[in-house]
């Protein structure tokens, strides 16, 4: 077998929320291979969250509206499979970290999903330990969630879904309420999980710098349409067009685009400062 079937297959999906004037998603087709790390970016109202909801089944199960096209998650049609059944494959971290907590203490939060999905009771303590260790919050186990910082809460939300050992992890702006250092921590954790455990990660994010550094592929949405989708450097190479859409490109990438346009030999676009330094040193030498 040369190519395996994608774990998420979005085929020509158009979705309008009930009562909305224009579709939130307009003819979007996109495939995510197992083990991929996909970043979804676009200006406000471009349909990023809706695309994410279409991938985890929240659309059309939770949000009513007109849905055309098909989404397959690990082969199952999200339209015909219940949200609960889809959740065996995909775990979701929502944007509002406070609202999605069901428990008062960290340990109980992690227990919730494990208990619901009927994980044998003797396996549960080990799974809780594993999930907490995976995101590095073993020391927070007994803490009250209300007493944690935004970054810590985000990690608790992650641990709670990782305990379920999902094949796919989708996250809606996981760094929305975080400072730059905590944002970086969350992303390096995601990259680590993706590399070490092979979990497919799909993340909606506004901070292009983080996506440019950590995501393997990027999908850019513009007014419900998929403007670009591909390997991150390929997508970032369209700096001017991205700027027109409303997506800022990291300065390192803009710089390499400018050098490329001036005729300098730019083999690979730089996505961060280190890479830009390397590139310029190469040119100067």
């Amino acid at each position: 077998m040369t190519t395996s079937a994608p774990i998420i297959d979005v085929k020509d999906v158009t979705f309008s929320y009930a009562g909305a004037a224009r579709p939130a998603l307009d003819g979007v087709s996109l495939a995510v291979a197992e083990g991929d790390f996909l970043g979804i970016i676009g200006p406000s109202g471009a349909g990023k969250s809706t695309l994410m909801y279409a991938m985890n089944g929240v659309v059309p199960h939770y949000h009513q509206g007109e849905f055309y096209g098909e989404v397959r998650l690990a082969g199952a049609d999200t339209h015909e499979t219940s949200l609960t059944d889809l959740s065996h494959t995909v775990a979701t971290v929502f944007q509002d970290v406070d609202a999605q907590m069901v428990a008062a203490e960290v340990e109980d939060e992690v227990l919730f999903g494990l208990e619901n999905f009927g994980v044998p009771h003797d396996e549960i303590p080990a799974r809780v330990d594993e999930a907490l260790a995976l995101v590095g919050i073993t020391d927070l186990r007994e803490r009250a969630i209300a007493s944690l910082s935004g970054g810590q809460k985000q990690k608790v939300a992650l641990a709670a879904v990782l305990a379920l050992r999902p094949r796919v992890l989708v996250l809606d702006e996981p760094t929305g309420a975080l400072d730059p250092a905590s944002s970086r921590q969350v992303f390096s954790l995601l990259a680590d999980l993706n590399e070490r455990s092979g979990i497919t990660v799909v993340v909606v994010e506004q901070k292009i710098g983080l996506l440019a550094e950590y995501a393997r592929r990027l999908a850019v949405l513009d007014e419900g349409r998929l403007a670009y989708c591909g390997e991150r450097r390929e997508v970032l190479a369209h700096a001017d067009d991205l700027l027109r859409i409303g997506v800022n490109v990291p300065r390192a990438t803009t710089l390499s685009c400018m050098l490329r346009d001036e005729g300098f030999p730019v083999g690979r676009l730089a996505c961060n400062v280190d890479e830009a330094q390397e590139l310029i040193e190469g040119i100067v030498a």
């Binding site: 985890n56 929240v58 939770y62 949200l83 609960t84 889809l86 959740s87 995909v90 775990a91 979701t92 929502f94 944007q95 509002d96 406070d98 609202a99 999605q100 907590m101 069901v102 428990a103 008062a104 203490e105 109980d108 227990l111 919730f112 999903g113 494990l114 208990e115 619901n116 999905f117 009927g118 009771h121 549960i124 007994e142 009250a144 209300a146 709670a160 879904v161 379920l164």
Partner: protein, 248 residues
């Protein structure tokens, strides 16, 4: 009052008590307070309430709660004394009957409110829900509804605080000392608060559903909530209080 219902962690005797015993104890004190007409007994219940708070290691919270209730009760006391006209006048408009009834009412109110608030401060909501489902066979969705609504109280208080702060920064006089004026300023904020709360509730419901909420049944919970000797003591205390309330 923010944080009054929040759980305070600890390992005291009351923390170790089965959540259902704590509920029984709280309700028992309420029932005893309403059954009794005896001042001495009602005062003893008040002492018991405060003692429970101290044993549970939440001194500050208990005293704050007591002070808050005392404020409300002072107002109620005056109202009652004003409106009860039977009995012999003892001082200005106050009659002996009015003073007695007003005293009983406010004491009962404090006696009955404190144990419930203390119980919530000493029991993690998830344990309360867990015990209600496992031991009292309450369907999980009801337990979840109760715990979630209680969990949202501090979330909305914070939200309201944030909206008020933002409005104060824009020149709205929320720092006024006039309570009527403050209330009138707060009323229009109910709409944005309601909208935020609907959004939050929706996210909470989605998050619970994608983590298998609908698969849960009585046997799902890992924790068992056995009754121990300490719990037998709590139930004995409840029985004794009710008997005393009737006898005295």
């Amino acid at each position: 009052m923010a944080g009054m219902l929040d759980y305070t962690a600890g390992n005291t005797m009351l923390h170790r008590l089965n959540p259902l015993s704590k509920v029984a104890l709280a309700l028992g004190i309420c029932v005893a307070a309403f059954l009794s007409d005896n001042f001495g007994f009602l005062l003893a219940l008040l002492v018991l309430d405060v003692a429970l708070g101290f044993v549970g290691g939440i001194r500050k919270k208990t005293l704050k709660l007591l002070a808050g209730l005392a404020g409300i009760c002072a107002f109620l006391f005056v109202l009652q004394v004003l409106f009860i006209r039977s009995g012999t006048p003892v001082f200005l408009f106050a009659t002996d009957e009015g003073l007695r009834t007003a005293g009983l009412v406010v004491l009962r109110l404090i006696d009955a409110t404190m144990p419930l608030a203390l119980m919530l401060a000493l029991t993690p909501l998830n344990d309360l829900a867990g015990a209600l489902v496992k031991r009292a066979h309450l369907p999980y969705k009801y337990a979840f509804t109760v715990t979630t609504s209680l969990k949202f109280v501090p979330v909305f208080t914070d939200e309201m605080g944030a909206i008020m702060e933002a409005q104060t920064a824009r020149g709205v006089e929320f720092d006024t000392r006039n309570p009527v004026r403050k209330l009138r300023l707060m009323l229009p904020l109910c709409a944005p608060l309601l909208i935020t709360s609907v959004g939050k509730t929706e996210q909470a419901a989605m998050a619970a559903e994608v983590r298998g909420f609908y698969l849960r049944d009585r046997t799902s919970g890992v924790r068992d909530y056995p009754f121990r000797a300490l719990d037998a003591g709590a139930f004995a205390l409840v029985a004794a209080l009710i008997v005393l309330a009737v006898v005295l």
